[in-house]
């Protein structure tokens, strides 16, 4: 392993210099959700009880939205964008004719997805601060945790993409993402689910991210958070490893 993968990141930076509007669009999504669901729906719902405390619905939903946007950004970059690059634009074929290897390519693309995600997370977090939705100094970890969520989903997304044959297969991405988005204790506390379903939700990946962000931003910190963090780290490492191996086989038959 060498630092050569950084040049893959440099390539994406060069490409996006010319597509800054596309880049900016990434900021919009979580802000829309916060305004519509957090503020709008929040008016109707009132307060929520979590961890023995009562917080406004906005304050309850906002950390989850940070986790969701980290997931969506990472998945989008490593599925659609990644698929286009390896299947149609041939830019990976060009990279692999140089000293770069498949793992460098996977690492580079993942790093780019993370960098981009971090910029969005930071902006969204600044918005939460401005809205007065940050309750605890532990929230300094909110952006690094968003990076960790991004890493986990980027790894998994990239690995999944190596099995995709055409853009039609991307319907499956939606089938996975939407339930994760809706049912990871994103919009209501996990205690609202029946016990059996609670166990299922606790095993899903986005739930780890939502639990982490909510605890940090609302200041309800415990050792259990390390478990969530480990889950995400392992998910990212395994995904990256699988993606690197499969890419090698796909691009170098």
């Amino acid at each position: 392993m060498s630092a050569l993968f950084l040049h893959v990141v440099e390539r994406d930076f060069l490409a996006y210099k010319r597509m800054w509007l596309v880049f900016l669009s990434g900021f919009a999504e979580p802000v829309f959700f916060l305004l519509s669901i957090g503020v709008g729906v929040g008016e109707l719902v009132g307060d929520v009880h979590v961890g023995g405390e009562t917080v406004s619905y906005q304050a309850f939903v906002a950390p989850a939205l940070l986790a969701v946007s980290a997931m969506n950004g990472a998945v989008f970059d490593t599925t659609f964008n990644f698929f286009f690059k390896y299947k149609y634009s041939k830019s990976f074929d060009a990279m692999l004719a140089t000293p770069l290897g498949p793992t460098d390519v996977a690492m580079g693309e993942l790093t780019w997805a993370l960098l981009r995600g971090t910029i969005y997370s930071t902006a969204f977090f600044a918005l939460l601060l401005a809205f007065g939705l940050v309750a605890s100094p532990w929230a300094v970890l909110a952006v690094p945790v968003a990076m960790l969520i991004g890493f986990a989903f980027a790894g998994a997304g990239m690995a999944a993409t190596t099995w995709m044959r055409s853009f039609v297969d991307f319907d499956y991405v939606g089938i996975v993402l939407i339930p994760l988005f809706l049912f990871s204790a994103t919009f209501f506390p996990i205690s609202e689910y029946p016990t059996g379903l609670q166990i299922v939700v606790r095993c899903t990946p986005l739930y780890q991210g939502v639990a982490l962000e909510r605890s940090l931003i609302l200041g309800d910190v415990s050792w259990a958070l390390l478990g969530h963090a480990c889950y995400l780290a392992v998910m990212g490492v395994v995904g990256l490893w699988v993606a690197g191996r499969r890419l090698g086989r796909l691009l170098q038959p």
Binding site: H7, S91, D93, M95, A97, T98, P99, L251, P253
Partner: protein, 310 residues
């Protein structure tokens, strides 16, 4: 040959499922040589090139490139190769100049050095005035030149070109040839695949003709012509099949070998002019008659047959 070959393949095999694309290939390329793989589509040229370029694993045999084994030292080998793949793998999201720049960075070159070389190379392939254009705005010939420029950014010792001029118009082909010729003169070792015989005759010191994953002939263009064809070829066209048929008996008496095609008869002979003189004094009256020197194309068609292989 005392020098160590840059490429040394012995019993090289590549399979895709049940299909054997490269079937026990033996090939050595010496430093400074311009070496060609000729063959019809599906002969195994590209599969061989991809194994040499360390982007495809071999399934059997031994292969050494620049004295190293592609299976274990692929990255180190690729660092010293220039590769012009069959399909231009240009980065469509980048400009012409950025394509060369980022490619240099993939090799770990410094920004300043890459910039210097990029400008020099764009000049070399006459694309300086298009440097800020997007790649999709370029013609096929320009893209090919850009791919060649890009492949030279690491100052490679060995340049691999897979069908460098396929699909180009005559002007573009000649420009590419001229640049490749200059490259060769500057001491680079060139390995190319082609199915254009004139390209092989122009550029290659030595070549192999491949068919069905195997080598069917090897040598310099001249030696191959001498060995597998005659000095001259006489091409005769007749008014109709009937006339052609009637003339065949007489044609049997000249030249070394005849090839009867639906539209004409080829007579392979050591002295075309003498034969034509003999034929026209008392012979059949073809509609048209052409005496030409034998080319690599004659060798190629003799060895690989005229039927279409896809």
């Amino acid at each position: 040959m005392s020098e160590t070959p840059l490429i040394d393949a012995r019993g090289l095999v590549k399979r895709f499922g049940d299909f054997t694309a490269v079937d026990h290939l033996d090939v050595q390329v010496q430093p400074g040589e311009a070496f060609g793989f000729l063959g019809p589509n599906g002969a195994g040229k590209t599969s061989t090139m991809r194994m040499i370029a360390c982007v495809s694993q071999r399934d059997g045999g031994a292969l050494s490139v620049l004295g190293m084994d592609p299976a274990t030292e692929g990255s180190a080998i690729r660092a010293r190769l220039g590769v012009v793949p069959q399909d231009d793998t240009l980065d469509l999201e980048l400009t012409v100049r950025d394509n060369v720049l980022i490619y240099g960075r993939y090799f770990g070159l410094s920004r300043a050095e890459t910039r210097r070389r990029a400008d020099e190379l764009l000049e070399f392939v006459q694309l300086t005035d298009r440097r800020d254009d997007r790649v999709d705005a370029l013609s096929g010939g320009m893209r090919r030149r850009l791919t060649i420029a890009r492949s030279l950014v690491n100052q490679p010792e060995l340049v691999l070109l897979d069908e460098p001029t396929t699909g180009l118009d005559p002007q573009a082909r000649h420009l590419v040839w001229e640049r490749l010729y200059r490259l060769k003169r500057s001491g680079a070792t060139l390995v190319l695949t082609t199915h254009y015989m004139d390209e092989a005759e122009q550029l290659c010191d030595r070549l192999v003709i491949m068919d069905g994953g195997r080598i069917v002939a090897e040598g310099s263009p001249r030696a191959l012509i001498d060995r597998h064809s005659t000095r001259d070829v006489v091409e005769l066209r007749f008014a109709d099949e009937h006339a052609q048929h009637a003339a065949l008996a007489r044609l049997e008496q000249v030249g070394e070998r005849r090839e009867v095609l639906p539209d004409r008869v080829l007579v392979y002979t050591a002295d075309g002019d003498a034969d034509v003189e003999r034929l026209t004094s008392d012979g059949p009256h073809p509609e048209s008659l052409l005496v030409r020197r034998s080319t690599l194309e004659d060798v190629f068609l003799t060895l690989t047959g005229r039927s279409l292989e896809e």
